[in-house]
Structures are given as C-alpha cells and as structure tokens.
C-alpha cells in the first residue's frame, strides 16, 4: 500500500523529518506515537501534500506510484485521506456541497458515473447515522461554528463517504470527550477492511484502546526510534516518553 | 483635591502640575519672521553656509504653503509675525561644556520637573538632553556614551562638530517641503537632539530629551535626528512640559529617524505640554512631524506615545518601510479632556518585501475633548508579502466628548494582508457604581478601567516611563466627566 523510504522534510528551512522509513501493507493499521514536536503532524502533512512542507530527500511509493509527484487533489482522488488535526472552517461553503464535490471528483477520476442528488443524499444520511450526527449539519458551512467534537466527527464522516484506501488520522482523538471518542472510533473501525490501511497519529494510548493497531511506531526527533506491536503503546502509556532522550542518543551514536 | 471624589462628575480637576514659570534673563530676538530672522538664528548659532542655505530654501517654500485644513482640529489663524522665534537663557551659550556652567535657576527648574541633570542623582541609566526654549542647556553622560562611539549631543553641537553627518541625513526623512509646519521648522529650528549610534553598537542606556517651553510668546521649533547605523540599537525617550499661560504657544518640531540594516530604534514620548484650562484658554499647539525611515533590511522602528497634553495635537509619527523585512510599530495612548483637541495617528508606508507593521491606538476622550485617529496604511506594488494589523479603540467618558476614526488603507499588492479593527465604548456610571458597591472608589475604578484599556501600549514603554504615564493619565483625567 505505502512504502516510505528514508523520507526527509523541512518546514521553513528547519529539518523536521530526518529519514523515515515505513512499510504499510493493505489492511494494516499503524499507530505513530511520539512526544510533541517529534514530527508526527509533519509526516501526516507531507503524505497529504501540504505545500509548506518541503521534501528534502527520500521516496514515498503509494500503490506503485510516486506519491510525492502527485498534486494534493490527485492524491485525494487516488484514495489518500487526511483527517486534519485542526479541521478548517470554510464559511460560505456548505458541508453537503463539499462532500458531493469531493465524492464526485473521486468517482470521475476512477471512471465512475457521478452520483445524483438523491443517491448521494441517501449515502450520506446513512453514514451520518453511523457518526451519530444531526442531519442539519449537512446544510451548515464546512466546520463553521462546529464544536471540537463535531469537527472531528465531520472529518470521519468525510472519510466514511470517500472510502479511502489509505487514511491518515492526525491526532483525531485530541479534544474529544469519551463519548465522542467512542463514536469516532466506531466510525473508523467500520471502515477497517483487508483493502484499507490506516495511519493513526497520536500522542496518547487512549485512542488505541478503541482502535487496535497492528503496529506501533515511536517517532522522536524526526526519526522512528522504536517499532513494535500493540503492547508498545501500553509501555509508552506506563513509562512516558522520557526514555526517548537516551534512545535517541543511542541511535545517533550508532550512526 | 483632598477628598476622594465620589462620582465621575467630581473626578478630575487637578491643576496642571508643571505650570510654573522660571524667571530667567533671556536672549530673545524680536518678534516676527522674515529671511532676516532666519539669517539671524543661523548667525547666532554660527552655522555653516550649507545649513543657512537649507533654511532659506525651506523658508521660501514655506511662504508659498498654506496650513493643512484636512484635520479635525479648530483654532483661530496663527499670526506667524507675532511669535518670537529664538529665545535662549542669557547665561547659556551654545555648546555648554559642563553642568557647572549651567545657570542654577535652570537646574532648579529641571529638578522641580523631576528631571535630574546631575549625573549622580539620576534616573538610573538614562542620559538626558535638556532643551529649554530654543536651546539645549545640558546633556548628561555624553562622555560615557562617547566611549562606545555614540554621539549624543544637542543639535547645535552636532552642527559644529559633526557637520558631515548632519548634512548627510538632515531632511532626508522629512523633506523641507513635506508640510507647512515641517517647512516652518526647517527654516527656524533652533536646537534639539542629535544621536548617532555606530555600527553594531547597542546603546547601553536610555537616551532622552526633555523639552521645556518657558518664555512667553515664543515658539519652540526643535529638530531631532537619530541615526542607527548597521546593527545598532537605541531606545530614546522624550518628555515635554510648559508653563500655564493664557495665550496659545506653538510647538512645531520635526523628528527624523534613520535605521540602516538590522538597526533598531525605539522612540517613546510622554507628551505633557500645558493643555490649556478648563475653558480652553491657553495651551500649546503641538504641530509635529515625526517620521522614521527603515532604510536598511530587517531594520525596526517603533513609536510609542502617550499624549496627554497640548491644547491641540496634530501629529502622525510614521514609518517608511523601505528595507526588506523591516518592521514598523506605532503604539499610542492619546487623552483629550476639557477642550483639548487631538488629531493623531500614523502612517505605515510599505515599500520593501515582507515588511510588517503594527498599529495600536487607544484614544480616551473626556469632557468636551475631541479626538481623531487618522492613519494611513499604504502597501506599494513592490511590497510583496507585506502585513499590517491595526487596532484602534476609543474610550469615551462624558456625553460631550467626541471620538473619530479615519483610517486610510491603500493596497496595491495582492500578497499583502491588512487588517483593521476599531471599536468605541464608554465608562458608564453603572460600571462605576458597580465598582463602588464592591468597595472600589471612583478614582481607582476609572484608573483601573483606563489602565486596562491602555495596557497594550504601556507595556511598550520603558519601565520608568510606564509608571509616569499611568500616573499622568490618572491626573489628566481628573475632572473629565461632567
């Protein structure tokens, strides 16, 4: 599905990612954990194609194609979905309009006919039930005046409608109360399938109680300093990130 | 005012504290203005010919100009022939050498004003240039500053000892024909301060000028020129007072700042000229042109002003952002009480790439005071990536005061971001009642609200000045609500 090879990237000329390599197969869920400032969000942004992140080295192959050569919208249509850490408010653009435009852009890209308003609404309403969202939110402007929890649910709704191959969830759990977290996790879990992969970017173990990852990676100083199974997340929860300082210096020393 | 006032109505009526007069023998030239006056002033000051010619050029241009009428201030026409353009304490010769030579009466005056000129008894770490009517009477810490190559002296001295620097920079920020008052100043300016900070030097102490108008019927026309060479930085303070007189006196100063690459100039003013009495008699007409030129890349010029005095204030400290990534700032608190009028604001002219400017203007209007914020933010086509943020708030006390906002925003570049916000609100009797019911007296409540309102600006002032400014606002507001 996704193969990241020695990826390096900078933001405002400051190197943030210093050589990341990661293999994600179809159907796998990978959690990327790490302290603040470790480069987690930069990794999400670089995969989605954010322009303020400059790739300075390395390769990313997505379903056999060079991901980094694609435009933002092309990646989206190819099935890469980023659930934003801070979903953007767009006054004046209806939520339902965005969903329909996005879905049809993707269908067109894949050579499928566009959905008419009736079929589209039936689909969206179905997904909204899953996310326990009020239908009225469809007709409001994108994220405008939404609470933190509503915004995050709206992200997952978009994900559910677009059915991406690769979903990147950037700190989707931040700012959610426990009930909202369960709803979001439920939405995410319903999308798990052998054809889909996910990257969960998170600071805390909490989200992983509801969405079981297959692999856990710890990111620090722009590198993956440890990888393991779900048990690694529990270990982090118990011991925090303090040990990373040592691990990092060891990595540096090893190099 | 002995007892604590109870209502807004009672609050505010303390007299102007710096209204005394110093009796001193003065060397004055006759009233009136002509080419001869200009020649006379230049001769008194033993100036080189280039400066005389420069003054005469300004004078001839001034004759063809008319006073600006676009501002929202009202005053009877000024008779420019009825003003004395040069007045100096008799004992004081240009280029004073040491404090011992300064007339003891003058030293007393400054002591009374709280401006110590004895270097030992000092506001720690502040060098002062004291300007009395038309001349500088003392400059402290000159030698200490000279050790690091800083020139801090009266303008007259700079003309004598550093004519090349004067010639290189004078009038390059505010050209002689810039406006009516600037042209007048260029023709007849008498003294002022001169600062040059050499490359890479951070000025080790605050520099300051203290302006005092004393003589009757005189105008004060001082000229300040500050140059911060590459990588230099300086913080400069200016204070002003005048005696209480029934007739209006004119103060038409020009301040020019030049910041070269990576230089930083911070210019703070606490302006407390005599504002006139409650009925609007007397007071200073403060018609001042202040402008900074961010000539170098990454240079930074910051104006902070607290304006509480003057019958009429007309001034727009501005920054021309020429150098790439240069920064201009303007922080202002202006208070008008009784019959005071103020038309003040700033101009930020963005020319260089990625230039940034910030404007924070706080206007407080009380009594019959009237006040206008007038600002210009211009983004030239060349100013790619320029940013400006303007915040402009008015606080009203009393139902006969006025507050106006006239921002001009001219944007010729689509990569620019310009934001302007303004609001107007009041201190009401109900708010005060609430505070008093909670045990806070009116005076404290008003000062609490006013200080909160001005906080953003006060925090930009050097510490000693911030305290003084807060006190000054408290005093100036007394009696403001009727």
């Amino acid at each position: 599905m996704l193969s990241i090879d020695n990826l390096q990237a900078s933001v405002a000329d400051k190197p943030i990612l210093r050589g990341i390599s990661l293999e994600i197969k179809a159907g796998e869920v990978h959690a990327i954990m790490g302290p603040n400032g470790s480069g987690k969000s930069t990794l999400s942004n670089v995969l989605a194609g954010r322009e303020n992140v400059r790739v300075t080295g390395g390769k990313v192959t997505y379903r056999g194609k060079d991901l980094l050569a694609m435009e933002v919208e092309e990646r989206a249509r190819e099935g890469v979905f980023l659930a934003f850490q801070y979903p953007v408010e767009i006054p004046g653009v209806g939520n339902v309009y965005l969903l329909k435009a996005a879905l049809n852009a993707q269908r067109k890209h894949r050579g499928l006919p566009e959905l008419d308003a009736m079929d589209f609404l039936a689909l969206v309403k179905d997904k909204m039930k899953l996310m326990e969202m009020n239908e009225s939110m469809l007709y409001r402007a994108v994220n405008e005046g939404f609470s933190g929890g509503e915004k995050k649910r709206n992200e997952i709704l978009q994900m559910a409608v677009l059915e991406p191959h690769l979903s990147i969830l950037d700190e989707t759990d931040s700012g959610l109360d426990i009930d909202a977290l369960k709803i979001v996790a439920n939405g995410v879990n319903s999308l798990r399938s052998p054809e889909r992969s996910m990257i969960l970017v998170t600071h805390y173990q909490r989200l992983l109680d509801y969405i079981q990852p297959d692999f856990v990676h710890v990111l620090a100083g722009g590198r993956i300093v440890r990888s393991g199974g779900p048990e690694l997340a529990h270990e982090l929860e118990r011991e925090g990130y303090a040990w990373i300082g040592d691990a990092q210096s060891q990595t540096v020393a090893a190099q | 005012m002995n007892s604590v006032p109870d209502t807004l109505e009672e609050f505010i009526s303390q007299e102007y504290q710096h209204g005394f007069e110093t009796l001193i023998d003065a060397d004055e030239i006759p009233r009136g203005l002509s080419e001869d006056t200009v020649r006379l002033i230049s001769a008194r000051k033993n100036e080189p010919d280039f400066l005389l010619q420069w003054r005469l050029d300004a004078f001839r241009r001034w004759l063809k100009m008319t006073p600006p009428t676009w501002s929202n201030v009202h005053y009877p026409p000024i008779d420019y022939q009825d003003i004395i353009y040069y007045s100096a304490p008799r004992s004081q010769k240009d280029g004073h050498k040491s404090l011992e030579e300064v007339d003891p009466e003058l030293l007393k005056t400054y002591e009374k004003l709280g401006i110590p000129l004895h270097e030992r008894a000092i506001l720690a770490g502040v060098a002062v240039d004291a300007v009395f009517d038309s001349v500088s009477v003392a400059t402290t810490f000159k030698d200490k500053l000279a050790e690091v190559g800083i020139i801090f002296c009266s303008f007259s001295e700079a003309v004598q000892h550093h004519p090349d620097l004067v010639r290189q920079y004078l009038g390059t920020v505010v050209p002689v024909q810039d406006n009516f008052y600037a042209a007048l100043n260029s023709a007849v300016f008498s003294d002022g301060s001169f600062v040059y900070i050499p490359p890479g030097v951070r000025c080790p102490m605050e520099l300051s000028t203290y302006f005092r108008i004393n003589a009757k019927n005189t105008g004060q026309f001082e000229r300040t020129l500050i140059i911060a060479d590459q990588g230099a930085s300086v913080s400069y303070l200016e204070g002003c007072t005048a005696p209480m007189r029934d007739e209006n006196q004119l103060h038409a100063a020009v301040v020019e700042l030049v910041a070269l690459d990576d230089a930083k100039i911070k210019y703070s003013t606490v302006q407390n000229w005599y504002p006139g009495d409650k009925e609007g008699r007397g007071g200073i007409y403060n018609f001042v042109t202040k402008r900074g030129d961010c000539r170098g890349a990454r240079s930074h010029i910051s104006w902070t002003q607290v304006e509480t005095g003057s019958a009429i204030t007309w001034k727009y400290p501005s920054v021309v952002l020429r150098g790439e990534e240069s920064v201009g700032e303007f922080y202002s608190v202006a208070l008008t009480n009784h019959r005071q009028q103020a038309d003040t604001g700033t101009k930020m002219i963005h020319i260089g790439k990625n230039t940034r400017s910030t404007i924070v203007s706080k206007g407080i209007s009380a009594g019959y005071g009237q006040q206008a914020y007038r600002g210009l933010v211009r983004v030239a086509r060349s100013a790619i990536g320029a940013r400006n943020h303007t915040q402009c708030d008015s606080l009203l006390l009393g139902d006969r005061c006025q507050a106006h906002t006239y921002p001009y925003i001219e944007v010729k570049n689509n990569s620019a971001t310009v934001e302007h916000e303004a609001s107007t609100s009041r201190i009401g009797e109900d708010q005060l009642f609430f505070c008093r019911q909670r045990g806070i007296d009116t005076e404290d409540a008003v000062s609490m609200i006013v200080n909160g309102f001005c906080k953003e600006v006060f925090k930009e002032l050097p510490m000693e000045f911030a305290v003084e400014a807060q006190k000054l606002l408290g005093v100036s507001l007394e009696g403001s609500v009727g």
Binding site: I90, G92 | R400, C401, H404, Y408, I409, E419, T424, R426
Partner: protein, 427 residues
C-alpha cells in the same frame, strides 16, 4: 469644459424645452453643478477615483433595435416579476412594463406621466439625493424620467417590484419612494447596458420611510466595457422603520455609488450590505454615510469586494453618531479579496462619534484566498481551480444570504453561482 460636460450642457436646453414648468429648478441645478465643478482627484471624495475615462465619452450615434420583453427577461434578475417598470434610455417604456396588478394603497408610476402640480410637490423631496454630489446636481438639471413609488399606511406590496433600467446612451433618471406608516415592500433595481459602446447612467434615489415601515431594496449593476454608472441614494428613516439595502456592483467600466442613510427618529434600523466585483480596467467605488441622528438606532453595514486583473475598488464608509444619539449600535465591516497582483483597493472606514453611550465597531481586511481552506478542499479531491472559485463565491455569498425575500435571494445566489447546495434542500 470636457466633452462629457459639453454634451450635458447641450441637453439642458432640450430638457427645459420639454417641461417649461421646471425651467427654474433645472437652471439653478446647472448653476450649482458649475459652482461645485467637475470632480477631480484633488477632492477628498474623489481622491482614488479618476473620471478621466468618463470625461471623454459622448453618446454613441448608433440606433438600437427595439427591445422586447422576451429578450429582456433573459437578462432580468426576476424574469417573472409580477410588477415591473422598464426604462429604456432614460424613458419609461409602457409596453414593456406591467403595473396593472398593484394592490390597493400602492401607487407606482413614471415621473413623465405626473401632473405639473405633483411634480412641483416632488421636486423638493428629490433634492436630498440631488445635492449630495456634482452628479446629483447634473441629475436635477437633466433627468428625463423616473419611478415614483408611494405606498400608503398599512399597505403591503405582495411581490417584489422590478425596476429595470437599460441605458445605452447618456441619461439621468430619478427614483422616489415614500412608504407610509407600517407599510412594506421589496424593490429590485437592475441596471443593464447590453452594449460595449460608451454609455453613462446617472441616478438619484430619494427614500422616505414613515414610522414602522419596512423597505428591502436590491440593486444590481451590470455594464459593458465602456459603461459608466453614477448614483446617489438618500434615505431618511423615521421611528422604528427598517431599511435593508443591498447593492451589487458586478460589472461595467466604472461605478460610483454615494449612499447616505439618515436615522432621524429612535429605533430605526438599517442593514446595508453590498458586493463589488472588479476585473481588468474596471473600478467600483462605494461612498456610504450612515448618520445616527437620534438615540437607540441600529446600523449594520458590510461590504465585500473581489478584485481581479487590474481592477480597482474604493470603499469609503462613514458612520456618524450625533450628539445625544445615545444607545446607538453600529457595526461596519469591509473585506477585500485581492486575486491578482495588479488589483488595488483603497478603503477608508470612518467613525465619527459625538455621543458616549454607544457601541460602535468597524473592521477591514485585505487579503488573498485562505491557503489552509484551499488546501483542505484540495485534500478532499476538489480540483484546484474549482476550489478557488468555490472559495471566492463563498466569500460573497454571505451578502446575498442576508436578503430576506426568498425568491430574490435564490435568484441572487443563482447569479453569483453559489446556489449549488440549495438544490439539496428540496430533495
């Protein structure tokens, strides 16, 4: 004297000959115009707006084909308007208009069909709009025709009135509106040129709102490459009256609107929300003045501008709160989207406050499209250009959405191309 003024002067004699009873007022207006003089950029009110283009034009000599409603309705914002007045080149066109279904208490008709006595009565009432600018004086001296709207107390015009002006030469027109106590109506004023030849329309609108009356007015300005439009609007609002005025300046070489709204009695409310769009070689200029003369009135003003190509826009918005106009609430904002590096905006929001117990604010922004929003839309697969257009439309949509009348709002949203999601609401 420039060619434009020369042409105007040649028209004066014609107008006087047509209606000798107005000779005096037309001559004195011309004298007033000469006294004020042709506006130049040396005047504060014209600082950013040069009339160099207008100065040179004279009306085209071509003759134009007769217009039919079948043709016009494709251009009309409300093609099915129940009530409509059509003015072609400054003159009321009875055949194209439809005023036969007006409810009781609503009197709408053209100036040209009024009796002399009625005209003399109206002349002073138009004056406030005609004394605002040099163009107002020209208007009084030269106007040919106009709409006269009088709604008596308690009456209610059931459906919006369409005022359609087609200007292909150089013409001056008036509009007079008087709403009686507690009456209500919606007006859509639309200006078209249907030609790329030089033309100029100059309008003066006087609005009087009696206590508790409610007027909604939508103005849509469209023009060709050499079309010039100048207009002065003066509204006076009595107690508790509501005015909602929505100007949309969408195209044309140059447009200048001077809008003055006076709130002369308590509890009057005004909503003034407009859009200007400029592209290559075009300019739109809005000068607005809201005058709170009395306590406890509310004003809410918002203008949004989209500037592309070498387009220029000017916004000069003044809010004045008079002495004793306590408890005034006033909001003003002006937001500009600069889409090209050659566009230019000059904006000057002003507050003049002479009372202390007031809540007033204004805000202005000038900027580009929001990068984060753009990225967000693209990350959902929306095409780059589509996302851009979408964000531009979303920017101005807010103004159209404030129009209270449903059909007019839908028509406007459709015109601005922002109606896409409306479709879903009916599913």
């Amino acid at each position: 004297m420039n060619p434009f003024v020369e042409y105007c002067q040649s028209q004066l004699a014609l107008r006087v000959a047509e209606a000798p009873s107005q000779e005096a007022s037309r001559h004195s207006a011309w004298a007033r115009f000469e006294n004020v003089g042709w506006p130049t950029t040396r005047l504060e009110a014209w600082k950013y707006t040069s009339l160099a283009g207008l100065e040179k034009i004279t009306p085209p000599t071509e003759s134009f084909a007769e217009l039919t409603w079948d043709f016009l309705k494709d251009h009309a914002l409300l093609p099915d308007a129940k009530h409509r007045m059509v003015f072609i080149d400054g003159v009321f066109h009875e055949g194209l208009s439809r005023l036969d279904r007006l409810p009781q208490g609503v009197r709408i008709g053209p100036w040209s069909l009024l009796q002399d006595a009625e005209r003399s009565d109206l002349v002073p009432r138009l004056m406030p709009a005609q004394t605002m600018t040099a163009f107002g004086a020209l208007n009084e001296a030269l106007f040919t025709d106009g709409a006269v709207i009088q709604v008596s107390g308690g009456a209610h015009l059931d459906e919006p009135l369409l005022l359609l002006h087609v200007t292909r030469g150089m013409h001056h027109g008036v509009q007079y509106v008087h709403l009686g106590e507690n009456s209500e109506m919606t007006v859509v004023e639309q200006h078209l040129n249907l030609t790329d030849l030089p033309c100029h329309g100059n309008f003066a609108t006087a609005i009087q709102l009696s206590p508790h009356s409610r007027l909604t007015w939508i103005k849509v300005q469209q023009g060709g490459a050499q079309s010039y439009h100048t207009a002065a609007v003066h509204a006076q609002q009595q107690q508790g009256s509501q005015l909602r005025y929505f100007p949309f300046a969408l195209s044309g070489a140059m447009g200048r609107n001077d809008i003055t709204i006076r709130l002369v009695e308590t509890h009057a409310e005004v909503i003034l929300k407009g859009v200007y769009q400029v592209a290559d070689r075009s300019l739109q200029d809005f000068h607005t003045s809201i005058e709170h003369d009395c306590p406890e009135c509310i004003s809410d003003e918002c203008f949004k501008g989209v500037l592309d190509g070498t387009g220029r826009a000017v916004f000069d918005g003044r809010v004045r709160v008079a002495l004793d106009a306590q408890k005034t609430q006033s909001r003003q904002s002006n937001h500009n989207l600069l889409l090209s590096d050659k566009a230019e905006v000059d904006t000057k929001p002003q507050l003049e406050i002479f009372a202390d117990d007031v809540k007033c604010s204004h805000g202005t922004t000038v900027g580009q499209l929001d990068e984060t929003q753009w990225f967000y839309l693209r990350s959902r697969g929306v095409d780059k250009e589509v996302a851009r257009t979408l964000l531009i439309k979303a920017f101005v949509k807010e103004i159209a959405e404030a129009v209270p009348h449903v059909e007019v709002r839908q028509a406007l949203l459709h015109w601005l191309g922002t109606e896409e999601e409306e479709g879903f609401r009916h599913v």
